[in-house]
Structures are given as C-alpha cells and as structure tokens.
C-alpha cells in the first residue's frame, strides 16, 4: 500500500532544478534509502514533503489526502516527522526534557501553563522508555548540548520517534560520526523503527549502510529519480554504477 505519493513534484532555486518533476512513492512499512550525490535533490525533496519548503508545482498525497499546501504543523499531526542532517536539538534542555517536550507537544499538552512539567508521571515515564530504547537513559539529566556527537545523532532520532510518526524521514543519521559508531547507531535506529511499525526514509551517503539496512533504494541524480529498486537491483544497475558509485564500486 502506498503511504506517500508525490506527483511531478518540482522545486527550482533560480536556474537550479533542485527537484525536477519527481514521482516518488513510499510503501507502508518499508525502510527506504534515498541516495545520490551531493546536490542531487534528496534534502530538497524531504524539505518539500515535510513542509519546510513549498513546491513550485506538483502534489504530495499522504494516506490518500492531499497535503501539498498543508502547514508543517498539519503534516506533523497527520504523521510525517523528520530529523535533520545537522543535529537540531534543544541544547539547554536536559536530554529527558528534549523527549518529554515532544510527548507534551504530541498530546497537545504544551498549551498547559498551570502545572509543573516534571510532575507529569506518564510523560516522564514514556520519555524515559524512549531514552532507554536509544541507550541514552544514563544521560537523561544532562543538558543535550553536552552530549557527544554519536549520542546527539541518536537523540535527534529519538526526538522524532517520540512523535510516534507514521512516516519518518532521517536525513543522514550517521553523518559526522566515526565509521566505528555507524553500525551500532544504525542497528539501534532500524530496530526501533521496525518494532514501532514506522515507515522510514533514510538519506544516506555510506553505501555499506544503505545496502545493509534498506528494503528498497531510490537513487536521485540532478533533481530526478535515476533508479528505484531492491538493494540487489541497485547494486547491479549499470546506470547507477556509472553515474553515482563510479570508481567507488569496487570498494
């Protein structure tokens, strides 16, 4: 079943065709990798779908409803969440509060100013559970700004997961962390995403990560979709090898 469908989605920045007539589909329950060289239009596509940018033309349909002109807030309520390439956290809040805030927001409780947030047991408990699944429970009372890079990447994803989205975009969840840390981080993220039945789209550069963890791969090139298939199909696709992987293919 199609969870998300974009039709001839287009976004120009001046003369640059960042996203050029893209028909992109995400199936319910899959873990999809979106790959392509820098400037291929991956992040722009995610920005269009998450509502950060408005498309010049084309449409976005999520769960059968047209969300093309919906606000960011509306899309989040519908179940579309995202993380960011450069970690975006609330640095002066504690790690626990970063997650608790999201739960308050999801439950419409941020409107409340008449009770102490720390006294909301169910929310605190849920936030602790989320942190535990991400292996961050021992850091709960630290300020988010004081975490190490790998932990920050995990918390960034934890914040998005705490929204309980139906569709989650993860923009380079392992960028900026050491090669050694990549696999453990991806193991945690993918196991949580699968156990919570979250459909996920992961933008990633590391081909080993992409082939190991995804069910399907979409390759973008200069604003268009170049190829779409299973990891095995993409691995052997000549067009992809020449335009994208190039000389790295042997590696």
């Amino acid at each position: 079943m199609n969870l998300l469908v974009t039709k001839v989605l287009t976004k120009y920045f001046g003369d640059t065709h960042a996203v050029d007539g893209v028909d992109f589909t995400v199936q319910q329950g899959e873990l999809l990798a979106l790959i392509g060289a820098n400037g291929a239009g991956k992040t722009t596509l995610v920005n269009l779908i998450s509502g950060m940018l408005r498309p010049d033309s084309g449409s976005i349909v999520f769960q059968g409803a047209d969300v093309t002109s919906q606000s960011v807030h509306g899309r989040i309520k519908a179940g579309i969440a995202r993380s960011f390439q450069l970690v975006n956290l609330f640095d002066q809040l504690t790690v626990l509060d970063n997650v608790a805030l999201v739960i308050f927001s999801r439950e419409g409780k941020t409107r409340n100013f008449a009770y102490l947030a720390d006294h909301d047991r169910p929310v605190r408990q849920e936030a602790k559970d989320v942190l535990q699944r991400f292996g961050l429970e021992s850091k709960a009372n630290m300020l988010a700004g004081g975490l190490a890079q790998g932990e920050r990447k995990l918390l960034d994803v934890a914040v998005a997961v705490a929204l309980r989205p139906k569709l989650l975009f993860l923009d380079e969840p392992t960028s900026g962390v050491s090669t050694r840390e990549k696999a453990p981080i991806m193991d945690i993220i993918t196991s949580i995403v699968r156990s919570e039945n979250i459909t996920a789209v992961i933008i990633e550069h590391d081909m080993d990560v992409v082939f190991k963890y995804s069910d399907r791969i979409v390759v973008m090139h200069q604003g268009t979709i170049l190829a779409d298939g299973t990891p095995d199909e993409i691995r052997t696709n000549d067009q992809v090898i020449t335009t994208l992987i190039g000389t790295q293919a042997s590696g």
């Binding site: 309520k77 995202r82 975006n88 609330f90 002066q92 927001s105 409340n112």
Partner: protein
C-alpha cells in the same frame, strides 16, 4: 536524588529566610528605605515579565517601557476620567490595558526575531511615548498625570495619616503580596509544559516547529503574558510615585528593564529579580552621591558585560558549583 533533595531543601530554607526578612524589614528600616525596597520589588515584577521573553523564549524586547507605561497611564486615566481610586481597579485596569497593547504590538513583533524583533518593539514603544508627549490635553504632556494614594481592599488611608507611613507599611505589604503571587505564577509558567515549549523555541526554532510547536502562536502568548506582567508593575508603580510622565514610556526606560535583567542574570529564574532590586539601589545612591550618576551606571554596565556576562545570580551559581566540586 539525595543531592537534589539537599539542594531544594537549601533552596527552600534560603527562600524562607528572605521572605521573613522582607516581612520584618519595614519595622526595622526607616520609611524611606522601605519605599525604596517597594520600588525594587515593583521593578522586579517588570523584569520577571521581561525575562519570560528574553531568558525563556529568546526574544530581546527593547520596548517594554510601552507596557509599564501603559499600566501606569491606565491607572492615571481611571483616576482622571472615572474618579475611582481603588487599587484593585487600578491593577485590573493596568493589566487589561497593557495586555491589549501587548496583543497589538505582539501580533506585529512575533513575526520577526533577533535584531528585527528588538528594533520593532523599540519603534512601537516610541509611538506610545510620542502620543503621551504630544496629546497633552489627555495625558498632561511632560507634566504628566497625578495619581492620589489609593484605597487598598476598600480601606482608605486614615484621615491625618502620614502618606510616607502609609506607603512604607500598608502599601509595601500590598506590593510584597502581589510580588510573591506574581513570582509563584511565573515559576509555574516557566516550569509548565508551555514553559518547556518556550525554551524549546529559544534553543531551536526550526526543530520546535518540526516537533509540532506552533512557534509564532507560542511567542505571541509569551509576549502577552510578558506585557501584562510589566503592565501590572506599572500600575503598582504609579501610586508610589504619585505621578506618571512620558519618561516612563521612553525607550531609555526599556533599556533599564534590560539592564535589571542582564545585571541579575537572564539565564536564571531569580536573576532579574535580584537585578531589579540591586539596580534600584545602585541608581538611587549614584544619583544621590554624584551628578555623574549615568557615568557610574555606564561603568557598571561595561564591567558587567565584560567580566560577569552571567550576571550576579549566574556568577554566584557558578562559584557555588565550583566550591562544591572543590569540597
């Protein structure tokens, strides 16, 4: 956990000591000193409101004189046109009038952030100042408007009673109770889920939007609460001063509110309170001792920004932490 309980117990203890001091002081001090302290507490209410925007939402307003002045002028208009001198009516009128102005100005200002927000708040407050300055048949112009001693909870000042004594006793306690109530309410606000959302906006606007916080709406509500607090302070200030003039609407007064908050430390809850009280003493003594009082305050500000950017309370907290670690 024990660390936390020890800390909060110590916090409660020191709060109790300060509260006891505030209650006893009028009988120990001469009336002039008590009145000076009342001014400090009133400015502290304004600073608390101001810091909801600066410290918790990340918006630096340079136009809070507008709400303080609106609170004060609303009281003066109630006296002038309605011939009412009830303090409770003053407070309600002051809060409503300043909240109305904050709603209008906030609607425009929260579309912007950083320097654009600051400049817009300043410009709008100067509009109010020029209205008070020019429409002298309504506002009294630079002569201002007089406000008599009000009745507190329906009780008038006893005939023949000295005004100083009244202000230094009954009025002081009135101010103290409202200050404590305002303090408690603000404490709950900043620690509520709403307060957390404001802090999230301060730390990372984009991410806040992407976890479902409607940034502009929350900023607007924070602006409204902030303006109403500052307006409440203005309404409490005017009977003490006996007079309101356009000076209180001028942007330099907004600068003072910023000064209170930076002096005390905007990254802490109690910082702005301490800053307001200390600034009030500082200015009073500087004015009393030298004609170059502005120079004195200027030097304090420069030293503050260069040497103690965390303010009095922020610096004290850091020192305390360092001592505890060393121990």
């Amino acid at each position: 956990m024990t660390m936390v309980t020890v800390l909060s117990r110590r916090l409660l203890l020191s709060a109790a000591v300060i509260l006891a001091l505030l209650v006893i002081l009028p009988s120990a001090l001469d009336p002039y000193q008590t009145i000076l302290l009342s001014y400090g507490l009133i400015f502290a209410i304004a600073a608390l409101g101001f810091n909801l925007l600066l410290g918790y939402t990340g918006l630096l307003s340079f136009g809070h004189s507008a709400y303080f002045g609106m609170g004060a002028y609303a009281v003066a208009f109630i006296v002038k046109y309605l011939k009412i001198t009830s303090m409770e009516v003053f407070l309600i009128g002051g809060i409503l009038a300043s909240a109305a102005v904050a709603a209008l100005f906030g609607f425009l200002c929260v579309r912007y952030t950083r320097i654009f927000f600051g400049i817009l708040t300043l410009a709008l407050s100067q509009v109010l100042w020029s209205l008070a300055f020019k429409f002298f048949w309504v506002t009294g112009g630079t002569d201002g408007l007089r406000v008599p001693t009000p009745s507190l909870l329906g009780m008038q000042m006893a005939p023949g009673q000295d005004k100083m004594t009244f202000l230094a006793h009954r009025y002081y306690y009135y101010v103290l109770i409202i200050f404590l109530a305002g303090l408690a309410v603000m404490w709950v606000i900043v620690h509520s889920p709403f307060g957390k959302a404001l802090q999230a906006i301060r730390d990372n606007e984009t991410r806040a939007e992407f976890v479902g916080v409607q940034v502009r709406k929350y900023r607007f509500v924070a602006f409204l609460i902030s303006g109403a607090y500052t307006g409440l302070a203005g309404a409490l200030w005017v009977p003490l001063n006996g007079l309101t003039t356009p000076e209180i609407l001028h942007w330099t007064f907004s600068g003072k509110i910023v000064f209170f908050t930076v002096l005390g430390g905007f990254q802490t809850f109690v910082g702005p309170i301490i800053g307001a009280v200390v600034y009030n003493y500082l200015e009073t003594y500087a004015v009393g001792h030298t004609v170059y009082w502005q120079l004195v305050l200027g030097i304090v500000l420069v030293v503050l920004v260069l040497a103690l950017p965390a303010g009095i309370v922020g610096t004290a907290k850091r020192l305390g932490l360092r001592l505890r670690r060393a121990a």
